[in-house]
């Protein structure tokens, strides 16, 4: 995937007919190579989430160009499209189909999803009876199993209670280190330096720097005087 000078603007309605535009992304350029894990670092409001939406093909760029040869690109969206009154099994299939998988494909993967989530006993109950932790487990298991060509991750690596958080984060780290193509957005310097092959720093909708994780993180840190500790979320 190649992004060259990508910009996205949003229209803000002012009064009855007036409009005002603001650019969420102004000028973003970088390459994403097959098999690498690319870290994206930047402050709140720098345009990281908008960038992921452009990469996932959810919104189009208003200027610049995005070239991609990947067949499927999607965000790691947890509990996508879950319906409270529906059973865990049906929700898993629906969610997988929303990610672009076929129903048959999901039926073939359902056992792995159930095993990974550890919800064998309650998978046929409606998920409104689940605790928040159980829903998080199922949501993660589905999103993890969907496995697109290019995976976009926004902050969250692990979810759920302590035990499942460790298990899911470990699975995610495993995948980052494998030759999957991944874009990982994070505030955490350690996550970026530990898991990524390269990193990009986005500031106010523009690429400030692209390079090795260590260099980019260091430059990013030194550009933030008076900062407290590295924010780990």
């Amino acid at each position: 995937m190649t992004l060259s000078h990508v910009g996205v603007r949003f229209a803000q309605r002012k009064g009855l007919f007036g409009r005002e535009h603001c650019w969420a992304l102004r000028d973003v350029c970088f390459d994403l190579h097959q098999g690498e894990t690319l870290g994206v670092i930047g402050r709140n409001g720098a345009g990281k989430s908008t960038l992921l939406q452009v990469l996932a093909g959810i919104i189009g760029a208003d200027r610049g160009e995005l070239r991609s040869r990947a067949r499927s690109v999607s965000m790691l969206s947890l509990q996508l499209g879950f319906i409270p009154y529906l059973s865990g099994r049906d929700n898993a299939i629906l969610s997988g189909m929303l990610f672009g998988r076929s129903r048959r494909d999901m039926l073939g993967r359902i056992d792995q999803i159930i095993d990974f989530s550890g919800l064998r006993d309650s998978v046929d109950h409606p998920i409104k009876t689940y605790s928040a932790g159980m829903r998080a487990r199922l949501g993660f298991a589905v999103a993890f199993e969907v496995d697109p060509d290019v995976l976009l991750i926004d902050e969250v690596l692990g979810v759920g209670d302590t035990e499942f958080r460790a298990k899911s984060a470990a699975a995610m780290r495993e995948r980052c280190r494998s030759d999957k193509t991944i874009v990982l957005v994070s505030h955490s310097d350690t996550t970026i330096t530990e898991l990524c092959d390269r990193a990009v720093w986005i500031e106010a909708g523009e690429t400030r720097m692209e390079g090795s994780p260590k260099e980019v993180v260091d430059a990013y840190q030194s550009a933030r005087p008076g900062k407290l500790s590295p924010g780990v979320r």
């Binding site: 959810i58 919104i59 499209g81």
Partner: protein, 254 residues
């Protein structure tokens, strides 16, 4: 490309129906009971209170109501389809036609129950099964085409102009009155009739009555015209949906 997502529209419709059924105690029985109650209300008002007892008035009314409600329900629900899927479409790319189409599928399933109730009623009422019932699938397919086409167009446009919902609500009320649900179009002054038949739902309802009540064959020319009109409306709806495919997820951020 789009055909690949049809199974998703069906599965989403199935999931929504199951979820809706799970919300009430007698679940899917409501899909039969609701049309019966709906028909009962109109029966009480028109046949009992207003004494409009021309021959077979009850049957006349019910055929019109069931046929109309399919159209009205789908259009009203489709107008909110993309709006209520905003959260979903900001997390994953989906062709936007999935949302109005899955609405059409749920409303068609509910219509199936209502229509079955109607056929049972006609049978209990003592109307004979006529040979013209063979034309029924054609009429149903044409109405499905019309319902889908209007749902796609309304679903495509309302997200850009949310204010249109009020216009559509009232337009549907107007259409309900001029589609000949509780009076025959042949009771309208002669010089106005041809205008009323420009309304596709008036044509559909009229032809449903021909087949179900009078054992006559549909007027194929006007039914075909409705079919062609639907194809044009549907094509326009699909065009708008595809043209602005990646714009819809950012609309509600205003």
């Amino acid at each position: 490309m789009a055909v690949r997502y049809l199974p998703l529209a069906f599965y989403k419709a199935y999931a929504d129906l199951r979820a809706e059924a799970a919300r009430t105690y007698i679940s899917f029985l409501w899909w039969m009971l609701d049309p019966i109650l709906h028909m009962l209300v109109f029966y009480v008002v028109f046949a009992v209170l207003l004494q409009r007892r021309t021959e077979d008035y009850t049957v006349f009314l019910l055929v019109g109501l069931v046929t109309w409600k399919w159209f009205q329900g789908a259009i009203m629900h489709a107008s909110g389809a993309i709006g209520s899927a905003q959260g979903l479409m900001r997390q994953v790319y989906l062709p936007k036609m999935v949302f109005p189409l899955s609405i059409v599928i749920t409303d068609t399933a509910k219509f199936g129950f209502a229509f079955a109730m109607l056929l049972v009623f006609l049978w209990l009422y003592g109307l004979p099964l006529s040979i013209t019932y063979w034309a029924l699938p054609v009429l149903l397919v044409i109405e499905l085409l019309l319902v889908s086409a209007c749902a796609l167009l309304v679903g495509a446009i309302v997200p850009f102009l949310p204010d249109l919902r009020f216009v559509i609500d009232n337009f549907l009320t107007l259409m309900f009155f001029v589609s000949g649900v509780f009076f025959g179009i042949d009771q309208v002054p002669e010089h106005l009739r041809k205008f009323l038949y420009l309304n596709p739902m008036a044509v559909i309802i009229d032809n449903m009555r021909r087949v179900l009540m009078h054992g006559e064959w549909p007027q194929w020319s006007s039914v075909t015209a409705v079919g062609l009109m639907s194809l044009a409306i549907g094509a326009l709806g699909l065009y708008v949906l595809r043209r602005y495919d990646r714009i819809y997820p950012r609309l509600m951020l205003h």
